[in-house]
Symmetry: D2
Subunit: 89 residues, 4 copies
């Protein structure tokens, strides 16, 4: 996957999360903390989407074009599973 | 797609939604209405997941194994888009 | 609650859902169906938010200003519960 | 708010996120990374719910029982806003 871009985004999220921890330590207003956590959620969703896009354009193409039917089914099933989960978190 | 199963589920959701409309007409307790709407949301997410699964195992396989590179990219881009949206609704 | 506005929105969603059922009956493209279901999800979320807003400004105020501590706790617990669920659907 | 419990949970999430960053650095399988990010999302949602619960049982009670109508409206509006956003992330 496009590791550098993904890593950069995840480290930004890590910094954001550390900021939220500091807010809680300094007894910030509850709603402000919730809003920052929601912003982190949104940023993580974008990272997941980017990783999925890379995955579709590499592993998924390889598996679907390959001759191993079981592997193809496995790879497509995983896409369905992360989609199902994305509706829940 | 597996239309019959999808149709059956969507018609169940339609019945559920009509029940919620009746609840509001009869002035039901707000929180009970919200909970029923959340149950409908969850049911719709399951329908979407089922449709996506069928789509991956038909159109996506055909497009990825085909020779039209643009069509392949279009089909994979759509998967990314509905995944991104599923994180938001 | 503000029944008329809520009812109007729910009936719009019902019409939208019937349109999706027709799309499936007419064998529409899977991704188009998923997108319409996601639009219905988003509309239902707006209805829930509107109902919660009305609930906060009526029942919740009454319960929190009232003398029944148990009732107050019950009403506030319900808010937490629908918030927790809203993160999952 | 109940800072200690919230802080402990957020620091667990921070450790989890650092683990995900290591996974990406070590070129882990895309789908495994997405699943871990979804687990972090779920954990963050639980933290938000806990913070909201504390907020309802402290600031919201104080504001709703107080005499400042504007402050009461502000506090209730914030609940609606974080609920609306929770449906989107």
């Amino acid at each position: 996957m496009d590791n550098e871009n993904t890593l950069r985004r995840l480290k930004t999220v890590e910094g954001h999360l550390r900021g939220v921890i500091r807010m809680v330590e300094e007894d910030a207003y509850c709603i402000d903390v919730i809003r920052q956590i929601q912003a982190i959620d949104a940023a993580l969703n974008k990272v997941s989407t980017q990783i999925l896009e890379n995955h579709l354009n590499s592993c998924v193409i390889t598996a679907v074009q390959g001759n191993d039917k079981k592997e193809r089914q496995r790879v497509l099933k995983e896409i369905t599973e992360v989609f199902a989960m994305s509706n829940k978190v």
